[in-house]
Amino acid sequence: MARAVTNRRKLIVTVAAWAVGIAIFFPILWTVILSFKSEGDAIKTPLEVLSSAWTFESYATVQERSNYVRHFWNSVVISLGSTLLGLIIAIPAAWAMAFVPGKQTKNVLMWMLSTKMLPPVGVLVPIYLIFRDVGLLDTKTGLVIVLTLINLPIIVWMLYTYFKEIPGEILEAARMDGASLRNELIHVLTPMAVPGIASTVLLNIILAWNEAFWTLNLTAAKAAPLTAFIASYSSPEGLFYAKLSAASTMAIAPILIMGWFSQKQLVRGLTFGAVK
């Protein structure tokens, strides 16, 4: 309704929305707060925690203990790499499904999604053996391949829903204009789908960044990303809340910041064609 919203009502909504927003965000906020406390202070009652001294000591310890930069870099390479590779494979597939649909298109799409339901724990050993034999254990390449494969269905689906919204006439126009299929994809389809591709990329980076099972099990030292970094803080001896908070903050901050800056794209992409 375009009728004027009374300020009173707006105020009530504002209070409610902020309360909910802060409640949902609170665990993250609290983690960040604890990361700036000493171990001893971190387990005190909330009021004492807030009034205690602020310190960078946990960050210093974490930094000293583990090679954050390397884990971070591995995470970046793996998530970007798998996203890029995924796009290269998925764009043609999504083009085919969106613009030359056949009777089986829907089924193929659903089948692709169903491959995501394969429980990873059930197939770890076979994959491990295969990776061992081809020498992909503890390599970024290996992880890029696995993450590409597990996220490919999602990428294909997202792109498919995006491409379907692009009028086929434009591609036909390109064809009339003498564009080959390759040029049609590179010069017309891809740039037009940029918003969709952007959100696909974002979601995929998030999924790849947070994937903890394969990244942990197929790496040792060289290719280990931030998920492995976290695994070394999960329950050490002694007080660890502050160190855990610091490590957690360091692990999630990059993706959180990226997500915040690009949330518009992300939100649009997340709708999976659910919203027309």
Binding site: K10, F25, P27, P119, G122, W260, Q263, T271
Partner: protein, 290 residues
């Protein structure tokens, strides 16, 4: 578009994706299937032998199996219920005009970016720990005995943690869907004398149906394989109170290194997942077409 040339091109274009996924599915699946009929324990090399259905009968008759099955369904169902209902309500709230919309949206979306391991660690230690956790402090401040979430209500606690991670996802999709609702329809309903509640029930909710299906589909895919949250918080316990299928297979296959049994479990899980998948696809198929 439908010329012979373009159809041929389409087949070429789709084949890398299809072949890769086929490989990704078939190769491990075939190996898993093969292993599932072997007595194969990593710790006892050289003793592999064919055992027929042994692994299956052991896996299926394990009392933990029924528990895991129930827990899996409860976990998926519980999280879906909380996130969709919560998502709709939150979506409705955030759809209203208010001050600071952008910032609140950022706050709400944040949990989606948090690694499952991290979120489980944070909830377990900083919040649900019955001695040093925030909830314990809150209970004590209110003069109540601290509640031990992870041992008294392990599955519920995990449902809570997982819901926290997925609520933003549901909220965002549903919020976007709400925003896409044709205002004319709401106005028409208003002219037709529908109260706010009726407008929600008869106009908004049906409009959201499609988005809700997508939320359910995507979340189910991810929720069926919830693992890190359980490993970090309860290790599937106490007893088997929070063991889901994925975790059960993990225990069989990676804790005991009983690849044979784990594979049998994997096959069972794949079958179950596909039953769920078929069910979902049916529902989606209908809802996505329109």
């Amino acid at each position: 578009m439908a010329t012979k040339a373009s159809r041929a091109a389409a087949r070429v274009m789709i084949s890398p994706a299809v072949l890769l996924l086929l490989g990704w599915m078939i190769v491990p699946l075939a190996l898993t299937l093969y292993f599932s009929f072997l007595r194969y324990n990593l710790l006892m090399p050289g003793m592999e032998e064919f055992t027929g259905w042994d692994n299956y009968s052991y896996f299926l008759s394990d009392p933990a199996f029924t528990a895991a099955l129930t827990n899996t369904l409860l976990l998926v169902g519980g999280v879906l219920l909380i996130t969709t209902v919560g998502g709709v309500l939150l979506g409705l709230l955030l759809d209203q005009p208010f001050w600071g919309q952008g910032i609140v949206r950022i706050l709400v979306i944040a949990p989606f970016f948090v690694m499952p391991t991290v979120s489980a660690l944070v909830w377990k230690n900083m919040f649900m720990n019955p001695v040093n956790g925030l909830f314990a402090h809150a209970f004590k401040a209110l003069g109540l005995a601290p509640y031990d979430f992870l041992s008294q209500a392990p599955l519920l606690s995990i449902i809570g943690i997982v819901s926290w991670q997925w609520l933003p996802f549901a909220t965002l999709i549903l919020l976007t869907a709400l925003q896409s609702l044709d205002q004319d329809q709401l106005e028409a309903a208003e002219m037709d004398g529908a109260s706010a509640l009726s407008r929600f029930w008869y106009i908004m909710l049906p409009h959201l149906a499609r988005s809700i299906t997508v939320v359910i589909l995507i979340q189910t895919i991810f929720l069926l394989s919830v693992f890190a949250e359980i490993l970090v918080t309860t290790n599937g316990g106490p007893g088997t109170a929070s063991t889901n299928l994925t975790y059960l297979i993990y225990m069989q296959s990676l804790l005991q290194f009983d690849v044979g049994m784990g594979s049998a479990g994997g096959v069972v899980a794949i079958i179950l997942a596909n039953i769920v998948a078929i069910f979902l696809m049916r529902m989606i198929g209908k809802n996505l077409e329109a």
